[in-house]
């Protein structure tokens, strides 16, 4: 057992912290208010190597381990979880999926620019009528011999407009149910793709979420990932890793709110003394600290299992469910400690509270994580 981080892991954590606290903080409130996509930050994080940090150096990635990724995600999300989700989708859904299951040609052509951050990726699984029940894919990828003809609509797509490469999950053999689903690499500029308007969201408003419509979009056969019918399994496997990213994002939202609440409690006075000297506040902070420590340990454990090549699906579900749920609790308490100030944008915690809510919903709701966890108990 060893709880020490390596020199490299600490350096990555510091690099992420430096960038977040020096740069992201400058315009995070304005970007949230006006729902502005952080193009310049995405470019800067790409240059630093954060967008493809898990990808092997051979494919132009950072070659870092998942533990480093957790540390970086936490630091970025403490300040701006919109950047956190852009980073998470690119790293742990799109790049991971391509690196793990793509062909050499697919990696050369699609993974490398994504790992460099020259392009960013999007993962298109959810549909208007297929959220938690991802087996019910209405998007059709009809087998036309040497290409697939894709028709349908995808919903809630992170990086929906800004992505250059889509990984699209679609049904080819409806009679085989989820065994008939395929995963396809689709160029964003393909003819027949229409991106819907920017969704007006409660939080993470700086990330661009869109619906994407496919009308007779031709996708070459060589863009299919894995064997015919591998798509559903591909999506589930990829989401196992994705959960570590979102769990770490939730952790960052919680610890970001906690740090602000702690600082505020040491400065603000009420009834003649700093808030922290009131036990009702000190105990709240104590509870928050314990929850964050637990969430961090769950995230690191899941990441460590993945790095060791051991099964991590259940561990990542536990990390995601717990971190998301405590992010909601901790951010709500952070607002409470701030009182009226907590309810205004300038103090950040109201935004973090709005952002926390999404972590309980996307990439598998907290309830779906419980399905994964409880099923593992029966095995």
């Amino acid at each position: 057992m060893n709880f020490e981080f390596t020199e490299e892991q600490i350096m990555i954590q510091q690099a992420a912290r430096d960038y977040a606290q020096r740069e992201l903080i400058k315009d995070v409130i304005e970007r949230d208010e006006k729902a502005i996509f952080p193009t310049h930050h995405v470019k800067a994080l790409a240059e630093l190597g954060f967008l493809g940090m898990l990808v092997d150096v051979e494919y132009d990635g950072g070659g870092m381990d998942t533990v480093s990724y957790v540390l970086a995600m936490e630091e970025i999300s403490k300040i701006d979880s919109s950047l956190g989700v852009i980073m998470s989708v690119n790293n742990s859904l799109v790049c991971y999926g391509l690196e793990e299951y793509g062909t050499e040609e697919q990696k050369q052509k699609y993974l490398k620019p994504l790992a460099r951050g020259d392009k960013i990726g999007a993962f298109l699984l959810s549909e208007p009528e297929a959220g938690s029940d991802a087996t019910k894919q209405h998007t059709i990828a009809e087998d036309k011999g040497d290409y697939y003809l894709v028709n349908g609509t995808k919903n809630w797509i992170t990086n929906g407009n800004s992505a250059g490469t889509y990984l699209v999950i679609a049904q080819t053999h409806p009679e085989k149910k989820h065994h008939g689903i395929n995963a396809l690499i689709v160029d964003r500029n393909s003819e027949g793709i229409t991106v819907g308007p920017h969704e007006k969201k409660m939080g993470m408003r700086s990330s661009d979420t869109h619906s994407v419509m496919f009308t007779d979009v031709k996708v070459p056969k060589e863009n299919r990932i894995g064997e015919d019918g591998f798509g559903f399994k591909f999506a589930m496997k990829t989401l196992d890793g994705g959960r570590i990213g979102i769990a770490s994002q939730a952790l960052g939202i919680a610890s970001g709110a906690f740090e602000r609440a702690l600082q505020y409690s040491k400065e603000r006075k009420a009834f003649g003394t700093e808030l922290f000297n009131h036990q009702s506040v000190a105990f709240k902070l104590s509870d928050m600290a314990v929850k964050i420590e637990n969430a961090r340990n769950l995230c690191i454990k899941a990441a460590w299992l993945k790095d060791q090549g051991k099964p991590y699906g259940v561990a990542s579900a536990m990390a995601k469910q717990y971190a998301a749920d405590i992010a909601m609790e901790v951010t709500t308490e952070a607002v409470q400690i701030h009182g009226g100030y907590g309810y205004v944008a300038e103090y950040h915690v109201e935004r973090l509270m709005r952002e926390a809510k999404l972590t309980q919903i996307y990439e598998g709701t907290s309830e779906i994580q419980k399905v994964v966890i409880s099923r593992s108990l029966l095995r």
């Binding site: 490299e8 600490i10 350096m11 990555i12 630093l48 190597g49 950072g62 870092m64």
Partner: protein
């Protein structure tokens, strides 16, 4: 052209210092160590110069006088982009001792430009850079806020009262740099962090040197008194308090 950047290993600037051993030392438990902020800016400028003068700068070396635990800081400097690092094995006690060690390193490799932060953010001695120049018998320029190389010629901007002066100098020289030498310290990229482990970090023995000063003990600055708020309707009290409490007039 070769550049040597002197790196001091200092506690993170937000560290709360707690004095121990009858105020002769401070508690190092849990302290995060960083590159001295001015040295970090110096290194950043060295990197910028290397990148903008294709091929002119052969290498950038970072040097630290200290114990093994300082290597994390040197590794970070390598991750930022320095080509190699030298650690002089010693537990330095004063500026003169450190300057003797750096001067020796600088002489052996014949560095053309030696950059030192104007001071370290822990002891604020502001002495090493000047001493190194004197020991090497080369020019030193203090308070440098700009360093440029054009057509192989070096020019430096120096802060003076109410303005700036522009100087030129022959190589080699020591530039004692301050804020402005570069805008923001460079954040190491993933690739740099990966490569840092493979870059050479050489440990050399210290040479004999006198310790000319010794610390008697430390004192923490007086805690800032709390901010006193005055209600709008009692604005007149402000004058009274400024006179009686703050003794401003």
């Amino acid at each position: 052209m070769k550049i040597l950047v002197c790196i001091s290993n200092v506690p993170d600037t937000t560290t709360k210092i707690k004095l121990v051993n009858e105020n002769t030392d401070f508690d190092r438990t849990g302290v995060q160590w960083i590159i001295n902020p001015w040295d970090e800016l110096a290194l950043t400028r060295a990197m910028e110069l290397k990148e903008s003068t294709a091929g002119l700068i052969e290498k950038i070396t970072v040097v630290n006088v200290g114990k093994k635990e300082n290597e994390g800081t040197l590794r970070k400097a390598l991750a930022v982009g320095a080509d190699d690092a030298i650690r002089v094995e010693a537990d330095p006690k004063d500026a003169y001792y450190v300057a003797v060690q750096i001067a020796k390193v600088a002489k052996e490799e014949a560095y053309d430009i030696i950059l030192a932060g104007i001071e370290s953010s822990d002891y604020n001695g502001a002495a090493v850079g000047g001493m190194v120049a004197e020991m090497l018998d080369i020019p030193s320029v203090s308070s440098v806020s700009g360093l440029f190389i054009e057509d192989g010629k070096v020019s430096l901007n120096r802060e003076i009262d109410g303005g700036q002066e522009v100087l030129s100098t022959e190589l080699p020289f020591v530039a004692i740099v301050q804020k402005g030498i570069s805008i923001d310290p460079r954040i190491p990229a993933m690739r740099g962090i990966m490569m840092a482990r493979k870059k050479p970090l050489t440990v050399v023995d210290a040479v004999e040197a006198d310790v000319l000063t010794g610390f008697v003990n430390y004192e923490l600055p007086q805690a800032k008194s709390a901010c006193k708020m005055i209600d709008e309707e009692n604005a007149g009290d402000l004058i009274k308090l400024l006179h009686t409490e703050a003794k401003a007039f």
